[in-house]
Symmetry: C2
Subunit: 335 residues, 2 copies
């Protein structure tokens, strides 16, 4: 690999001049510039990013932390990733997905090691040790999601209170008086969004005097199906279900229909926080509240960039509700 020094020697200029040409940081005479460019071409020169990073103190690389080994990437999560990476590129950064779990040690190494300029956290828990680790160590970061008390931290998140209220009230408006709520369980994880949705569901059903049932379900299609298959037996009076578990929602509908429960005539199903991709899996097509994944992915990058630009500026904090997408699994309550 040719170095800048090699190029400088061949073009008979100083290494500084090569740097100016490569980075466009200072004006260089056309003639000199051409000599340098020719030398670079001849040597197949490519600037070593590590050297540059050390000198500059920045890499222009951002990391999206997702615990891939612990939690399965849903279609929606992938959408977060692609939109964030697109946005990062627009802003002159590279964004990579770093499959780091809750292991603080690893986060520390990554974040303080200087390899990345900043970090976007996903799958944030109410009490998240990673957040404390990053904050304590002064690593620039933004959250997609948020902790119990995000106070002065930058975040973008789904407005789960608004979205859950909308879910319940749409069902109430259709005459449902007994509404169940399926949420996703994951050992050790106290997901912020899940927790907020659950308590809002309880509050709003109570507010409307509607019967409520909380049902846990693993993040697997087969678990959704199993739940659906025994649903009619175990909850004969329930006429509507909110499913906040993207992985399990199609399986749940399938479990209902294959055991003879008609959807939506007997039971309405509303998927909370999902995508067109998953909604298309079932028959009838799932009615759902769409997670604004691409919007939040972009905003997550913006929040981080702002923090990088000025660590003392007020943090960007944005909540976006899900949007209702009417398909075929909602109907008026029976009887």
């Amino acid at each position: 690999m040719a170095t800048m020094q090699d190029v400088a020697t061949r073009a008979q200029v100083s290494i500084a001049t090569v740097s100016f040409v490569v980075n466009g940081t200072k004006h260089v005479t056309d003639a000199t510039k051409q000599r340098v460019e020719q030398a670079m071409r001849e040597l197949g020169f490519r600037r070593n990013s590590v050297g540059a990073a050390l000198a500059r103190g920045r890499t222009r690389i951002l990391a999206l932390l997702f615990p891939v080994l612990e939690r399965s990437l849903s279609h929606t999560s992938v959408a977060f990733f692609s939109s964030a990476s697109r946005r990062a590129r627009e802003r002159g950064y590279d964004l990579v997905m770093w499959p780091i779990g809750t292991d603080i040690e690893q986060i520390d190494v990554l974040a303080r090691g200087g390899l990345v300029d900043g970090v976007i956290l996903m799958e944030v828990q109410l009490e998240d040790p990673r957040v404390k680790a990053l904050a304590d160590n002064n690593v620039p970061f933004a959250m997609i999601g948020r902790t119990e008390d995000p106070s002065a931290l930058p975040y973008v998140d789904i407005d789960m209170v608004t979205s859950t209220r909308e879910a319940v009230e749409r069902l109430v408006a259709l005459g449902h008086r007994d509404i169940a709520f399926v949420y996703s369980t994951h050992p050790e994880y106290n997901h912020g969004a899940v927790s907020r949705a659950r308590s809002t569901y309880l509050a709003v059903t109570e507010e409307h005097g509607v019967a409520s049932t909380l049902l846990a379900c693993d993040e697997q299609p087969a678990d959704g199906r199993a739940l659906g298959e025994r649903f009619a037996d175990e909850h004969p009076a329930t006429t509507a279900v909110i499913v906040m578990n993207e992985h399990a929602a199609p399986g749940f509908v399938r479990g209902l229909t294959r055991t003879g429960t008609r959807v939506p005539e007997q039971v309405s199903v509303l998927s909370l926080g999902s995508s067109a991709y998953m909604a298309e899996m079932t028959d009838p097509t799932l009615t759902y509240l769409r997670t604004p994944a691409s919007e939040l992915g972009e905003l997550g990058v913006d929040a981080l960039e702002r923090r990088l630009a000025d660590p003392s500026a007020s943090p960007l904090q944005t909540l976006l509700p899900c949007t209702f997408v009417p398909n075929a699994t909602l109907a008026r309550a029976r009887g």
Copy 2:
């Protein structure tokens, strides 16, 4: 951020000694070691990876290149990623997913910039400009998938010839004489696996004197459904379909059943290269040939590591067939 120099000063040793302690590269007296460790603790020292990388010439970071912006990540692709990253960690590397497309320029910057020690390529095309770019530039890499002629390059890949033959012959054995093949289209992409599967399908059906039909389908559930909905009309004589399109397979089955075609009584469906996750989406549960994603993810890391250890060693080249998972969408041919 405290540097090694800061630690050295505080512990009253040389920076070299600190380095020895941090890396365990040389024996240091217990007393000295403890002084150094205490100083590190007091200062909250964390080694700067960029400095280390520059000095060593290695970062111990690997990149998995997946064109996230251009191709949608299937559940199976995610499995590749998680298993590769798990394996990498076992071997002392970090593996990140780098959402790079076909843009050679970007690959060049990444790969030659010294930020990563090696690269694993996914979604390899028959003629893949990225492969040439990496090879020309002497960047250590391995492919998951392979080009038309991978000759001396390290790769691990699905044995699509064997797997497709198995798919066809299982259907033939059930008496099917008119078998269609749905493959995934993607503009600009001439995916190696798709291409090999298609030609094997044509060869094996011909070998058995069975009627064949090639059907293109975008990688979207809704496109699968649309294809399924018009299938009975357009291909009334066809009794079995091989679907090599993980995103579209559930939609295809759904399209069939919702237009009154009974699966598998009237039409058998065999999903080629999929996962339990996707198979669970439909009713009846999809019979499929499982992509050995976690096995190949691991092997991909092994292939790359071997190349890193000894660039002149013979490349690891492995083909693994899919394995048949019997579920509920296969039956004897009707009539």
